[in-house]
Amino acid sequence: MIFGLIPYLYLNARIMAKEAKLVGPDKLEELISAPSVIEIVSALEETEYGEYLSDLAAESVEAVEDALLLQNAEIDEEIFKIIPKKVSDLFLFLKKKWDIHNLKVIFRGIDGGLSGEEINTRLIPAGEFDEITLKDLASCRSMEDFIAQLEETSYRDLASELAAYEKSKNLFYIEAKLDKIFLDSLWQKISNGKKKKLPLLIDYFTLKMDCINLKILLRAKRDALDLKEVEKYFVEGGSILPRLKEGFDGADLNDLITMLEETDYFQPLMETLPQYEKEGSLLPLEAVLDRLKVRKGKDMALKQPWAIGPLLGFLTSREEEMKKIKIIIKSKEMGLETEEIRNLLLEL
């Protein structure tokens, strides 16, 4: 038993060190109280983001966001390298998510008529694709060329959506398919073979996939879409999809949430439903699901402190930190008062 935990000792020591460097409540308060974006950047220079912020070309919100992404990408690469070899393939998503990010930047750029050089400046140098492949993809002048170049990769199935895109010039088909390819393969990897070894990882991703599907269902329901219009873009995995799909077409949003009875999602969503009805916005419901994810991630860090718990906890905390910093910077740029920013952080 104890031998099984040895590979995680180094990983967890590094993760704990990284966790300690996350932006704490005091620093967060300093960022909230900073008078402008420039001051926020100065305050962040003392954190792990400092290295990436010190040579910003411009102190715009976009430039800061790019720096945050770069830092995140490097941390992911670093973590991936120290994950025990026997489970590292289960954490390939730490690399692949940057491929997905870059592929989206590229095809949005191609669709929006940006030049290869312009697209290149927006790419994050991380993930499984090397620099030359990314450059080649960015230099494609049509979606057909772009998808053809992905023929030899795990994204070859994007070709199935090309006809729908060409007919409608609607990137939804390509983007939704790309997300599905990534998340389905992630789920298949996690739920097969090594399942017994990492039940915690399955738990973590069950919640993640549930939240993704639930958010898609809520948004589709609010927009009065039929199930068949979004069905093929639901991601595999999770625990709630079959029961929701079954009653989707005849149900309203309230019914949809009622169908979740006996799950962890039911009570918090039901409690937030009056706020949705009052404001007409789905955001409070989405925020509830995000908070569930954060709580789950943090619980896992405590549940299995000697295995992958701390890693999952760290990934969750870092995602949360990034979200908060982005909200603060954008709010500051928009000229929101300190108190308004505090309230926004609580709401979102």
Partner: protein, 214 residues
């Protein structure tokens, strides 16, 4: 203030008849134009009310849309939202037609459906959120309202121009043309009476001369 008369007019019965006819025509025209002006003003005030409420709708819709956009940018990232919006752009065809309101040609703008469904906007559903949908929907609805507002504002502009034009015409008729015609008619009438009197005296004088010779 003494009213001018039409220059170069000959004080003849023929001219008197012509001018009297013109005077009554001008007066009738003045009354008709006055009625048109009043009707245009009533229509104008009605449309102005629409402008006010349409403008208010646009402002409120845009305020909500910009707030939603801000939240979406804060959560998804300003850069990413920018990229998504670049890829979601499209051409919207607006068709023009003309409607006639009391002789005033005003535009009617019609367009294809602007508000799109969730799966028609060009972005995926995994790394985006409902605030982006709400921002997009509110901007699309705002665009519909803006096009409607453009139609109403152009109608108001055209009606205002017509009211102004009609008012100028009514004023010209009421304060210049009709009084001048009236004064000219009066002048000719007086001149004819004077000529009649002169002729009467001349005849009387001739008669007296003939009688004294006889």
């Amino acid at each position: 203030m003494a009213t001018d008369i039409i220059e170069g007019v000959k004080p003849t019965r023929m001219e008197l008849l012509k001018l009297s006819h013109r005077e009554s025509l001008a007066d009738k025209g003045r009354k008709l134009l006055k009625e048109k002006r009043d009707a245009l003003i009533a229509e104008f005030l009605e449309v102005v009310k629409d402008v006010r409420s349409a403008r208010k709708d646009v402002e409120s819709k845009l305020r909500t849309a910009y707030h939603d956009l801000f939240i979406a940018q804060a959560l998804i990232g300003t850069r990413t939202v920018g990229e998504i919006s670049g890829a979601c752009s499209r051409e919207i065809k607006v068709e023009f037609a003309i409607k006639n309101i009391m002789g005033v040609k005003v535009p009617i703008l019609s367009m294809e459906k602007i508000v799109r469904k969730l799966n028609e906007r060009g972005y995926g559903l995994v790394n985006t959120n409902s605030k982006l949908d709400e921002a997009a929907r509110n901007f699309e609805e705002a665009l519909e309202l803006i096009i409607k507002l453009a139609e109403i504002e152009e109608t108001v502009k055209k009606l205002a121009q017509e009211v102004e034009k009609t008012k100028r015409r009514v004023n010209a008729l009421e304060y210049i043309i009709v009084p001048r015609l009236r004064a000219t008619v009066k002048y000719i009438r007086m001149r004819l009476e004077e000529m009649e009197r002169e002729s009467f005296i001349r005849l009387k004088h001739i008669k007296a001369t003939l009688e004294s010779r006889g």
